[in-house]
């Protein structure tokens, strides 16, 4: 009887641990992978229905990328979007400061006059406005791929300029809250490298 109980303990222990792992599961159709290497920025996560997961990755210029997401069937119709975030700084007005400015004596041609020490001759002061400029961060986002509208189940692109991209996976809400695993696969292929093909 004791060995039976120990066996039960072991089975339940293994089940509990397995329930928390997502990286050792594969829910993707094998055809999606192609000749890409996914061992760098891919991500595995445990999520709930109604959640949105945004993964920010860097895509390097001169490389080809293929991105897709897959999820456990119990999470229903998970879809994803690829978003280009734009970030730039804009010159922005901050404030006007009142500043006291000295007035110096000039001759009839507009040249400064100097005293015996070589310094300009101060005749008084006036108040002037000093505009202070700063920088405002302006961010925007544009969607370049939406799996609900796309012909292919993956986003594939040849990158011309290194940039950050956002992969947004949306797990639709369900009448009963459920959790499960999703895979966000980021594959890369080197345009000019015959070596190291997976």
């Amino acid at each position: 009887m004791r060995s039976y109980i120990i066996f039960l303990f072991l089975i339940l222990g293994v089940l509990t641990v397995r329930a928390q792992r997502c990286d050792d599961k594969d829910f993707c159709d094998k055809d999606l992978y192609g000749e890409y290497d996914y061992r760098s920025q891919s991500n595995y996560a445990q999520v709930y229905t109604g959640d949105t997961v945004r993964v920010k990755v860097v895509v390097y210029s001169g490389q080809n990328y293929r991105i897709f997401t897959c999820a456990e069937r119990r999470l229903k119709d998970v879809f994803f979007r690829v978003i280009y975030p734009e970030k730039r700084f804009k010159r922005a007005f901050k404030e006007i400061k009142k500043k006291q400015v000295p007035i110096y004596e000039k001759d009839k041609d507009g040249n400064f006059l100097y005293d015996e020490n070589g310094d300009r001759i101060k005749t008084g002061t006036i108040f002037a406005n000093d505009t202070v400029w700063g920088r405002d961060l302006v961010t925007s986002e544009s969607v370049v791929y939406d799996s609900r509208e796309a012909e292919e189940a993956y986003w594939e692109a040849s990158i011309h300029k290194t940039r950050l991209i956002i992969i947004e996976s949306i797990i639709p809400p369900f009448r009963k809250k459920r959790n499960g695993c999703i895979q966000i696969m980021v594959g890369r292929k080197y345009k000019n490298a015959s070596q190291f093909r997976r």
Binding site: L12, S40, K56, F89, E141, F196
Partner: protein, 276 residues
């Protein structure tokens, strides 16, 4: 028999509670983060930041005309000099970067040496995946196969990343990633002369996106430590230097002055990682 049934019921209740706690923890994590981007409703979203592995970086670097320079690598014989867990993780990150650099440039002997150095630290740090004896044997039996060594190097690092994420060892993962990234930059900035307007200069300037993601990741994962921890502060400082590139006009990638100041900071940062 009744006793067994009771035990089974208790075990199921325990198992369910345990899973619910895990779920609750995961849920809390999801609700912690908010994205500040403009124009998109991202309420209740979890934001995850990913950083390219050293292998991905060095493939990009090699394609941009980068070179292999064995003189600037960290000596593999110093692996045992790092004593605390934090310093071992830092050293592991640097060796993982040296391993990737050697593998991408098909330097087989160096690749084996850095795998061995990383293995010593991986064992000390308790990584049960990625640097096992089996992989070591595969490395040794593929000494002449450049392709295999590259894939084994990529596999080992990838397995460690997944193992640490799975075990929720985010602090160790952060030190490894940050130190590995500083080492990668150090090698890339110093391996050869970099001409202005070259592809290599662009490759180094492009790392501003990586440091931006890495800094955001550290701030996200270690909210209360980013102002105190020397490694996290190092990353923040590098991010500040790199952020200056946003001021450049569209046709200027990185000026010589910006290049020199970033390189100098990278070199100082790497020195402080080595002398721990």
């Amino acid at each position: 028999m009744r006793f067994i049934i009771s035990i089974v019921i208790v075990l199921f209740v325990f198992s369910a509670c345990h899973r619910e706690n895990g779920d609750k923890k995961a849920k809390e994590k999801l609700e912690l983060t908010r994205d500040n981007s403009v124009g998109v409703d991202v309420k209740n979203s979890k934001v995850v930041y990913r950083v390219p592995t050293p292998i991905e970086f060095f493939m990009f670097y090699r394609g941009a005309g980068g070179a292999f320079n064995p003189e600037i690598l960290l000596s593999p014989s110093t692996a045992s000099n790092y004593l605390s867990t934090k310093n071992k993780a830092v050293a592991f990150g640097m060796y993982a970067s040296d391993l990737a650099y050697s593998a991408v440039f098909a330097q087989n002997q160096q690749t084996i040496s850095y795998f061995e150095a990383s293995k010593v630290l991986a064992e000390d740090l308790g990584f049960t995946e990625g640097y096992g004896e089996e992989l070591m044997q595969r490395f040794k039996s593929n000494l002449d196969n450049v392709d295999s060594l590259y894939h084994l190097s990529a596999d080992s690092y990838w397995n460690v990343l997944n193992f640490l994420e799975d075990q929720d060892k985010t602090t160790l993962l952060s030190y490894i990633t940050a130190a590995g990234w500083v080492e990668s930059l150090y090698l890339a900035f110093n391996a050869k002369e970099v001409n202005t307007k070259s592809d290599l200069m662009s490759c180094l300037a492009d790392q501003q996106y990586v440091i931006e993601n890495l800094d955001a990741y550290l701030q996200e994962m270690h909210k209360n430590e980013t102002d105190r921890d020397d490694i996290f502060l190092m990353v923040r400082k590098l991010n500040e230097y790199y952020a200056e590139l946003y001021n450049n006009p569209d046709n200027v990638i990185m000026t010589r002055v910006q290049f020199d100041s970033i390189k100098s900071l990278v070199n100082r940062s790497r020195e402080s990682l080595v002398k721990r």
